[in-house]
Amino acid sequence: MTATATTPERRDGSYTGAAPVRPRAPRRRGTAVAGRIALHVLLTILGLAVMVPFLWMVMSSLKLDSQVFTVPIRWIPEEFHWDNYTRIWVRIPLATYLKNSLFLSVVITALQVLTGSFAAYGFAKVRFPGRDTLFIAYVATIAVPWQAYMVPQYIIMEKAGLVNTHLSLILLQAFGAFGVFLMRQYYLTIPDELCEAARVDGLSEYGIWARIVLPLSKPALASLALLTFVNTWNDYMGPFIYLTSNDLWTVQIGLRSFVGVYDSEYAMIMTGSVLSVLPILTVFLIGQRYFVQGIATSGLK
């Protein structure tokens, strides 16, 4: 599960380095250089093609509505309309949406990381009858598509009078099985001897969790926190199903509703999209390697 993003260089390097030893070396070198250039060109074209939607999004956000769809396409705006980025705050209650998204993401992430890592300790480091059966129940629900039980969930929330509150989303998303699973996988790699030694020294189980296991699992905690934060921030279906009042809406649902009502304000829609993606881009660039590690830990074990 080592970070993929940092280490895959060695193989290619090792065989081009060995090339001159072989009799056919000179010709192969020539083709190798040509191949490298071709590869660079190919990658650049493909890379740009993949980036086009983002480029188009940013460029359109700086245009007038009437200039977004032109034939032929103008990639660079004639005139940069930075005022779109000031006008949007009064056009839609974006500040409220951002505040709601931030609130939900932070609270849900905090609860998920806390209860997830706490429960994971019980599953990975304490032995008691029934533990493994219980864990299977956790894992099994990960396999059940959420769509298959969203209706009973909704009924429960409705009976509890929690529909159209932030609390409903917090309760639904903060106790997921995924966090428990991810943290448990990581705790299993921490040697039991460490906990055993701490027990002999008279540390309670809670002490071991707080003072030994938790500090050792920072990378996994970071992965879980980032993945949960991004998932909550981007979640559309949860707010779409549960939140009906405008003042409770998150960025995603607010943006979607703006698109639905003012579908010809192309530039403003793109401005909103850019602003909704910006926080995620920041979080992603800061914690990139934890994302990759998290995917590798939860995916390939």
Binding site: R11, L43, G176, R256
Partner: protein
């Protein structure tokens, strides 16, 4: 089941220890378990039972056996949704897999800018779905959208209407979802490529194997466990597809992109037909389960 203190379980001290462990273990799990049990475990079980009941928002639940399933089989919407979901999966799974594998192999080397490309490819996956759907909807715009302008430029006289056309809305969804998901699976493939020993390639090169032969006889077989995992994840996520469709086409035009998850939502939450929607949910669950089991079997047979 792991017993706590196997040989000495009968001594009072050991029993006390076991009880203390049980208490400690549960105390760790409980904060998460309360929420998990009430809002995941109970709904999962309830969903199974509800499929055999008639229950609307204002009536009391009543056991009706297979009635919901009979109604479902007679309902055209159900078959349309099942067909559309399968169509989406058949397009989404192989295309995403090939794109992810291709990019992983291309980017698994020492080249300037490789890290930037990896980041750029992964980013769509964590970009919010609403932004993705909104941008692609505009890119696919029939008259002046960049996609069709490009197609016209390369000589396609009457490019498709994409999300405004009943035949092309689904391909538009598939293209968008491949673009969005390939970076995630590429990361899984890059991790898989790390586990292939470099000596294998050196030996093959000594024997004169071409790049294509090396890929076909070394890379692909060595990646089999990753491919297996990717295939399962992709298939499951394809059958669960919901938000992308909801945001991009809302199932339209007409019913041309109506998928199973959407139908469950419409029947269960919008219409309040709890029992009937749970029957559809059960079909979704069984399909996902069957695909997983079949793929597991195939994988085991290959390994033998």
């Amino acid at each position: 089941m792991v017993s706590t203190t196997a040989p000495a379980a009968s001594t009072p001290r050991a029993r006390r220890l076991s009880r203390r462990n049980t208490l400690a273990g549960w105390s760790f799990i409980l904060p998460n378990f309360i929420g998990f049990a009430a809002l995941t475990l109970v709904p999962v079980v309830a969903s199974l039972a509800l499929a055999f009941m008639k229950w609307n928002s204002y009536s009391t639940p009543e056991w009706v056996g297979l009635d919901n399933f009979r109604r479902m089989v007679d309902n055209a919407n159900f078959w349309t949704a099942l067909y559309n979901t399968t169509y989406y999966a058949v397009g989404h799974v192989p295309l995403t897999l090939v794109a992810a594998l291709g990019f992983a192999v291309l980017l698994n080397r020492k080249l300037r800018g490789v890290r930037f490309f990896r980041t750029a490819l992964f980013f769509p996956y964590i970009t919010s779905l609403v932004a993705v759907a909104v941008v692609w909807n505009m890119l696919f715009s029939p008259d002046a959208g960049p996609v069709n302008q490009f197609l016209r430029a390369v000589g396609v006289d009457s490019p498709p209407g994409w999300t405004t056309s009943t035949t092309w809305a689904m391909p538009a969804l598939i293209i968008t979802s491949v673009w969005r998901d390939m970076g995630y699976y590429m990361v899984l493939y890059l991790a898989g490529l790390q586990t292939i020993p470099g000596e294998l390639y050196e030996a093959a090169e000594m024997d004169g194997a071409s790049a294509w032969e090396r890929f076909w006889h070394i890379t692909l077989p060595s990646l089999r466990p990753t491919t297996f995992f990717v295939l399962i994840m992709l298939t499951i996520s394809s059958f669960k597809v919901f938000d992308l469709v909801q945001v991009m086409t809302e199932g339209g035009p007409g019913r041309s992109t109506l998928v199973l998850s959407q139908l469950i939502f419409r029947e269960g939450i919008e219409q309040g037909r709890f029992g009937y929607s749970s029957a559809i949910a059960m079909v979704l669950f069984v399909v996902v389960l069957l695909i997983t089991v079949v793929q597991f079997r195939l994988q085991q047979r290959k390994e033998r």
